[in-house]
């Protein structure tokens, strides 16, 4: 046990590259490791499981309980906050309902995008392989399960590294760490209790607030997606590895004439969102960089627009994308 920990520690301490020198047989290693990624992506969606996990980013720690089941083609998931203000999220396929008992608010939204696609698309996997060196490491124990460790080492400084622990039996992601340029952990998620498989009752997937929420304030977040074939924006210059994968317009509730352009750039794993909206006339738009947990946020004015760029990437990346954004045809 301690020898293995020492080995893992050695991986952390290595200066360059992030995960330490590693004797590799190149191609086969990578293929196997990528296959693991595929397993991870599908396992979470196809298995029944219940557990408790802890998420940490910077100084925030959050413990949650999750129940996940698949029944007749419908994927249902319940997420419950175990510390701080009580919250519950119920997901059925791509419909999400969030309950906030403290503010007596219930929020419904539809999640398109990644969840609608089967696991990882081939081009996504290719993109990951292009921008990260992916390889298997040893097997460790997490929450009572044997876990295959996978390392995703960034090939440049525009993205973070990842370390993943996947259950050797089912491929379910048990633990994950995102690692920064200075080898500091940016965020971590890990199951502390877990049971995989078995039947899950309907009751376990219902919100305890379902009844009383009838009397709460109700919100709905909606978005309309415009087709990518009418692109309005592009990154001019280099934000290496980040390709535009989505562009859409979103309507904003309660904002008169409020419409927002949302563009997503991705390298297959990390993504950066760009939000563009009209600036208020004659009001100077501030420019700045800030951070929300594992996410860096950069904002600036661009012509008559206000641009906000954010993503789970190093600050340099969001800044670069923000600064090289240009309208097509201009």
């Amino acid at each position: 046990m301690s020898l293995r920990h020492a080995a893992v520690a050695a991986l952390w301490v290595a200066v360059q590259p992030v995960f330490g020198a590693f004797a590799a047989d190149g191609g086969l290693q990578q293929t196997e490791a990528l296959a693991w990624l595929q397993r991870i992506a599908s396992a979470a969606r196809q298995l029944n499981y219940t557990g408790v996990f802890v998420y940490q980013a910077g100084e925030v720690t959050e413990t949650s309980r999750i129940v996940h089941a698949v029944d007749g083609g419908v994927e249902v998931e319940k997420l419950e906050a175990l510390d701080g203000p009580p919250r519950e999220i119920i997901r059925r396929n791509d419909e999400l309902v969030t309950y906030h008992p403290e503010t007596r608010t219930v929020r419904a939204e539809k999640r398109r995008g990644a969840r609608s696609f089967p696991a990882l698309l081939p081009e996504q996997l290719n993109s990951i392989a292009e921008h990260y060196e992916v390889r298997k490491a040893e097997v460790e124990r997490v929450a009572g399960f044997d876990a295959q460790v996978l390392l995703l080492e960034p090939r440049d400084q525009y993205r973070y590294g990842h370390k993943l622990w996947a259950d050797t039996g089912t491929g379910l992601l048990l633990k994950a760490k995102m690692i920064g340029e200075r080898h500091q952990p940016i965020e971590q998620f890990a199951f502390t209790q877990l049971a995989i498989g078995g039947a899950i009752s309907r009751k376990q997937l219902e919100s305890r607030y379902a009844l009383e929420a009838a009397g709460w304030r109700s919100e709905r977040f909606s978005s309309n997606e415009a087709s990518v074939s009418e692109p309005g924006w592009m990154i001019r210059g280099s934000a290496p590895g980040f390709r535009k994968i989505l562009e859409m317009r979103r309507s904003r509730e309660g904002v008169a004439g409020g419409s927002l352009t949302h563009i997503v750039f991705s390298d297959g794993l990390a993504s950066v969102s760009v939000f563009i909206e009209p600036a208020v006339p004659r009001q100077k738009v501030a420019e700045g960089l800030t951070q929300q947990g594992a996410i860096n946020i950069y904002y600036r004015g661009l012509g008559e627009h206000r641009v906000t760029v954010l993503g789970e990437t190093p600050a340099a990346t969001v800044k670069l994308i923000a600064n090289t954004l240009a309208q097509t045809g201009k």
């Binding site: 510390d83 203000p85 009580p86 009844l211 009383e212």
Partner: protein, 199 residues
């Protein structure tokens, strides 16, 4: 160290993973919370369920308790909300907020006995405990009986009791302890014969 400081210490230990510390808080306040909730919920069995539910909610919310108020004040609010939600979920009228949101309400102890617990065994146990305690009290030497009465019923501090009984504080402490232990000795066999020996 006063009562509030003790609660704060127990909370902090519980926040660092010591479940027993939280159990001690439960033991300390379960009757008090139960009495509070029984003002809104008639059935004693339901009161018990809701009280337990409130303690569990309190346990889960413990990381966000910052000690800005007394623990019982915070627990009290959780208890009230749990009871409210329970009544609403059962389709019953939830009491209006003025009935129990005032500061005083939280300390108001109307002395009403909790309505009899409804299972025959629990009711029997309750009566047996009461009888045993009373009998033992009668048989105690007077100075022990007085000391524990002044402490538990009148709520006086050791210092005040020492003044009233005209003896050193150390003697007060020892007398109260001996009274408790004598009664405890009589109760242990009684409680030990209940269905589950392990607490």
């Amino acid at each position: 160290m006063g009562d509030r400081e003790i609660d704060q210490q127990l909370v902090e230990r519980a926040q660092r993973g010591d479940k027993r510390a939280f159990e001690m808080l439960v033991v300390k306040y379960q009757r008090k919370l139960g009495r509070l909730l029984s003002r809104f919920i008639r059935d004693a069995g339901e009161v018990e369920d809701v009280t337990q539910e409130a303690f569990i909610k309190a346990y889960r919310a413990l990381p966000s308790f910052r000690g800005e108020s007394a623990f019982y004040t915070w627990l009290y609010r959780i208890g009230i909300n749990t009871a409210k939600n329970y009544l609403v979920a059962m389709g019953r009228r939830a009491p209006t907020t003025t009935e129990f949101d005032s500061e005083e309400a939280e300390n108001f102890d109307d002395g009403d006995q909790l309505r009899d617990v409804n299972t025959p065994e629990a009711e029997l146990m309750s009566k047996q405990i009461a009888t045993t305690v009373n009998e033992t009290m009668q048989a105690l030497p007077e100075e022990l009986r007085t000391a524990i009465t002044l402490r538990e019923i009148e709520g006086l501090s050791y210092e005040d009791i020492a003044t009233i009984m005209n003896c050193p504080i150390g003697t007060v402490r020892s007398r109260i302890f001996r009274a408790r232990e004598t009664i405890a000795e009589r109760l242990r066999p009684l409680l030990g014969t209940s269905k589950d020996k392990r607490w």
